[in-house]
């Protein structure tokens, strides 16, 4: 066979060489490069998120304000859909043929192999019917979820709502949220989002090449359980809230009631309100748009976002700060000829001619003259430039929580308006201004904006004789009933307790002495102390204000009621406050039935055009001018309390 026999070795050598190359390559793939192991794990492992139940919110007596209700999302995996009775499915889900095609196209565009949402949040009734037929619809699945549900449809603005996260939320959360997650978007849902949302669990699931789940990985050794969100106990009194919302129906305005001893908010009404259930479910999008375009702006949280000149109720603060400053005392008497004269012949009018008036009577009769003199003393007679004196006055007022956010546990609280001395110096070109330049501040008019929450808080301060706790809506968090430390801090209003008595006596007389502006709403057996007020409204009818606390000794409730465009405070706001206080303290209402009926039946909604809630414009007018320089104002030399033209300055 000659030398050809030797070729056997060459051929065998080639075989060996090729096997060696394969072995070398294998040792690289299997022994050296670790990336393939990682890729294999990435291929099969899917972290499935287990959604925790969101925390439930209860009222102060343990009654449910918000709970979770199961809903059912219908999912579809387009690849698995076969021999479908489209008509039946459409009927059960409540969609038409085009809707079906559109949803299928969306799902297919997302992925033919992965399940995606076909219809979300089917109500339980639709689910029950669908469930019976589901075996006929291959490729369709039901996924349970929970949504928020509000059994009494109350306190919409306090509770707020949740919505699907947007790109910004996801970015800000450092990847905590994923598309499709829900996040609190307003109210308590937003303020306590991190507590309510709970902790998501992770389940490691193995999937096949088509992303179909194939069971748990390593018998669930690396899985974590979902932890339900913390429950919250609200300070709200559900029954009181229901009554307050009923009373405020067809009216624009706010009711805020605070328990003075704790700062807990008992009632938080923003009217007109809306049914919080509207922000849940399949109609949410439509409802949301409807609410946004509602001329009465139900999404506007009036108790802490609407800012009104407080009117007469501010006299309480004036009286207290002036006593503390030593500028007046209980016995100080000013003569009231029916108005306070200031500047060059202008008058700030009173409603009555009171003659010599001392402090208690000034509150009782709401004497503008008295507070004109008081303010003049505070600004002009303190032995210092008036700008500096104004600064002291402003500081004292701010201690009552005016002109700054109180720190309520809801997002979006407004500070109110209380201009600094610089504002006036700038406006008048120099610092040589005095009390006559902004005399209306003395009676809570002019450049002053206070939220109803701040008004109620002032009342809580008076009820407490000198201090307050930050008003808050959540009194305890979770099973351990944790109270946030900032809500247990006692904050002083800077006025000694002894100065409160004459003011409280005056307020008591408003309600309990015949002839007082609040006499018609007095409550038998309970000494309620109150003050009516009328907040000027340059856009139309003035706003009625009433604030009160009761009982006089050891007060249990402090309340502020604002009814927009309702005119005089005693007529509209007073009865509402009275009924709420009596309901809260005695659980009955003894107010004459005709007054009650009048309140329930009243429709004080203005024509949509003028229904803008009044927001005080903060930016000062561009050019400095005298208080009454504009042509409209010059016609009216006299500044009335109730029909003042002063407000036009802000236009």
């Amino acid at each position: 066979m000659n030398g050809l026999f030797e070729r056997k070795y060459i051929i065998q050598g080639i075989f060996i060489a090729v096997a060696a190359i394969i072995a070398a390559r294998l040792s690289y793939l299997q022994l050296i490069d670790k990336s393939y192991l990682l890729s294999a794990n990435n291929n099969v492992l899917r972290k499935m998120v287990i959604y925790p139940a969101r925390g439930v919110i209860l009222d102060r007596n343990g009654q449910v304000l918000v709970q979770n209700e199961p809903v059912y999302d219908l999912l579809v995996t387009p690849r698995e859909v076969k021999e479908l009775d489209t008509a039946l499915l459409c009927e059960l889900v409540g969609i038409d043929k085009e809707g079906f095609e559109r949803r299928m196209a969306t799902a297919r565009a997302y992925s033919p192999y992965k399940a995606s949402q076909f219809e979300k949040q089917l109500p339980a009734t639709a689910y029950a019917k669908l469930q019976e037929h589901l075996y006929k619809f291959r490729g369709f699945y039901i996924q349970n979820r929970t949504v928020r549900s509000y059994p009494d449809s109350i306190a919409a603005q306090f509770l707020g709502y949740i919505q699907e996260v947007n790109e910004r939320d996801i970015e800000r959360s450092n990847g905590f949220y994923r598309p499709g997650d829900y996040i609190g978007a307003s109210g308590v849902e937003s303020a306590y989002e991190e507590l309510l949302r709970g902790q998501r669990g992770v389940k490691n699931v193995m999937v096949d090449a088509f992303n179909r789940p194939q069971g748990s990985f390593a018998e669930g050794r690396y899985d974590t359980l979902a932890v339900a969100g913390d429950g919250l106990i609200s300070s709200l009194d559900k029954d009181l809230q229901i009554l307050a919302e009923k009373l405020m129906r067809n009216k624009i305005g706010s009711v805020v009631a605070i328990e003075p001893a704790t700062g807990e908010i008992l009632t938080f009404v923003s009217s007109p309100s809306y049914d919080p259930n509207m922000m849940v479910g399949r109609e949410r999008g439509n409802n949301y748009a409807k609410l946004l375009h509602d001329p009465y702006k139900p999404m506007f949280i009036r108790p802490m976002q609407a800012q009104y000149p407080p009117g007469s109720v501010f006299k309480v603060v004036s009286a207290l700060t002036a006593q503390q400053a030593g500028m007046i005392d209980e016995h100080t008497i000013f003569n009231c000829p029916g108005g306070y004269r200031y500047g060059s012949g202008r008058v700030m009018r009173c409603m009555h001619v009171d003659g010599p008036t001392q402090l208690i009577r000034s509150i009782q009769h709401s004497c503008n003259t008295y507070y004109g003199y008081t303010y003049a003393r505070m600004i002009d007679q303190r032995g210092m430039p008036s700008a500096q004196a104004y600064g002291l006055w402003r500081d004292a007022v701010m201690k009552f929580g005016i002109g700054q956010p109180l720190g309520i546990d809801l997002p979006g609280e407004k500070a109110g308006l209380l201009p600094s001395a610089d504002f006036y110096t700038k406006r008048y070109g120099n610092a040589k201004w005095g009390s006559s330049y902004n005399i209306s501040l003395s009676i809570g008019q002019g450049e002053m904006g206070i939220t109803p929450l701040q008004m109620a808080n002032v009342m809580a301060i008076v009820a407490n004789r000198g201090f307050y706790y930050r008003p808050h809506l959540i009194k305890a968090i979770g099973d351990k009933k944790i109270v946030k430390p900032e809500f247990t801090e006692k904050i002083s209003a800077g006025v000694d307790a002894k100065y409160y008595e004459p003011v409280i006596e005056g307020m008591s007389r408003v309600v309990n002495l015949p002839g007082g502006t609040g006499y018609s709403v007095r409550i038998a057996d309970i000494e309620m102390c109150g003050k009516t007020g009328t907040a000027q409204n340059p856009h139309g009818q003035d706003h009625a204000v009433f604030f009160a606390f009761a009982p006089r000794e050891n007060p249990k409730i402090a309340i502020a009621v604002v009814v927009e465009n309702a005119g005089f405070g005693g007529t509209w706001a007073g009865p509402i406050a009275s009924m709420l206080i009596e309901k809260y303290l005695k659980d009955t209402i003894t107010l004459p039935q005709y007054i009650q009926d009048r309140i329930y039946k009243a429709d004080l909604l203005p024509k949509p055009k003028t229904a803008k809630p009044q927001e005080v414009v903060k930016s000062p007018p561009a050019k400095p001018s005298q208080p009454s320089k504009s042509p409209e104002e010059e016609e009216e030399e006299v500044l009335f309390v109730h029909h003042s033209a002063l407000a036009r300055r802000y236009d």
Binding site: R7, I21, A23, L37, S39, A40, M206
Partner: protein, 423 residues
């Protein structure tokens, strides 16, 4: 030749060592097919509707086939070889007309529930006829005419298989070049030349053609300097340079204009010219992930997530080696490779101990075909050759492939057992 392990049976001494290797590979194949199609929800072992259930039947019938082959007289194979060849050619023509198209290849003839793949049997017929033809020629001075006739025997089925078009199976026939080499029809330098051509082909596709030409130019220049005293060497180097440059340009032309686009894609993926893990590269990528994630000891039997959850395509047929690599790791892969290498070397040894040229040539044919399938199939799963759809002998799922390789091997064993007789 007195081996105690060789027994008198089937009219001679059968090479039991090879039979054991064959059996081991079949068993390994069965277990890995089982793993590849394993369904955790349906874990019964013998379900005749599954691939591994059917493979049990194929293995069993292959054993029957093997025994039958060993019983039949050796002369029969030599004498029927021309008829067998003609039948095969007719089947290859028939498949183009009545065949069923599976995965883009018109390669299957359905017979009941079973599908026959004539190209698998064409290898057997070609080896037999080639052996018979070459053995009748004088080996003292191999001439070009014999080479061309022999090549025609090989190329006729190649053409028909290419029409299906089943490039992978067609390429397997080219492995018979080892037969021509061993029989002296092709010389060492020509083999080297062929290897060089293939190498240049791949390099040209992988790199810019100008880079390749520059490298050849530099090599030739160094050679000319080294052989500057020898004019003949310089002349051949210059000729080499001119031819290889022309070749490089040709390759580019062929690649762009002759190859089909999916073939181009597969080559591009292998060469790393396109990175496309979801498209053409998906199969290769998943295959390498499966094998690579097996690490040293493997994930364990039925524990391979890549194969169990269908990430690897064609996992019981062409990509069966992924299951081996993933579940049995480096150790298992080495065992399989060693088994193949041992079998191949054994076949070459068996070939050389044959007394007749026919038996020797046939045995080399068997070695060449098995070698090609082994190298290309495993090579493609680990990304060193383009993805060519050919089965791994004895291991891949499929009756046609198992039977044809078994027949191929056992006819050789029959010749070996019968070598004292006259074929």
């Amino acid at each position: 030749m007195t081996n105690p392990h060789r027994h008198k049976l089937f009219g001679g001494e059968v090479d039991w060592f090879t039979i054991i290797l064959w059996l081991l590979l079949c068993i390994i194949g069965w277990f890995n097919i089982h793993a590849a199609v394993f369904d955790p929800d349906n874990p019964e072992l013998f379900n005749m509707n599954t691939n591994y259930g059917k493979q049990s039947i194929y293995i069993f019938s292959a054993m029957v086939l093997a025994v039958t082959i060993l019983i039949v007289d050796a002369k029969f194979y030599s004498s029927v070889s021309p008829i067998l060849y003609v039948i095969t050619i007719l089947l290859l023509i028939a498949v183009l007309v009545i065949g069923r198209n599976v995965g883009g290849n018109q390669a299957w003839i359905p017979i009941g529930s079973f599908r026959l793949q004539p190209s698998e049997f064409a290898k057997l017929a070609t080896c037999l006829l080639l052996g018979r033809y070459l053995s009748t020629q004088s080996t003292k001075n191999p001439n070009l005419g014999t080479l061309l006739t022999g090549a025609s025997i090989v190329l006729l089925p190649v053409m028909l298989v290419l029409l299906q078009p089943d490039t992978g199976s067609a390429l397997a026939f080219f492995a018979l070049v080892f037969v021509f080499y061993r029989e002296g029809y092709i010389s060492g330098p020509w083999m080297l030349f062929g290897a060089l051509c293939i190498m240049l082909f791949v390099l040209t596709l992988a790199f810019n053609q100008w880079v390749i030409i520059s490298v050849i130019a530099v090599v030739c220049a160094l050679g000319i300097y080294y052989f500057r005293k020898r004019r003949k060497a310089i002349t051949s180097l210059i000729i080499f340079f001119v031819i290889s440059t022309a070749y490089v340009f040709c390759v580019d032309f062929v690649y762009e204009n002759v190859l089909q686009s999916h073939q181009r894609n597969r080559i591009d993926v292998i060469l790393g010219k396109i990175d496309d893990p979801r498209g053409q590269g998906y199969n290769l990528n998943q295959s390498m992930i499966a094998i690579g994630s097996g690490q040293f000891w493997g994930k364990g039997y039925l524990q391979g997530t890549q194969t169990k959850y269908n990430f690897v395509p064609e996992q019981s047929t062409d990509f069966i080696f992924c299951t081996i690599g993933e579940e049995w790791g480096f150790v298992g892969s080495m065992v399989v490779i060693s088994l193949y290498l041992t079998l191949l070397l054994r076949i070459v040894n068996i070939a050389e101990r044959q007394r007749t040229a026919f038996a020797r040539i046939y045995a080399y044919g068997v070695a060449s075909i098995l070698f090609f399938h082994f190298a290309i199939n495993i090579g493609m799963t680990i990304g060193i050759v383009p993805i060519i759809g050919i089965p791994l002998p004895f291991i891949s799922y499929g009756g046609s492939s198992l039977w044809s390789f078994t027949i191929l091997l056992f006819i050789m064993l029959k010749f070996d057992a019968n070598k004292k007789g006259i074929v």
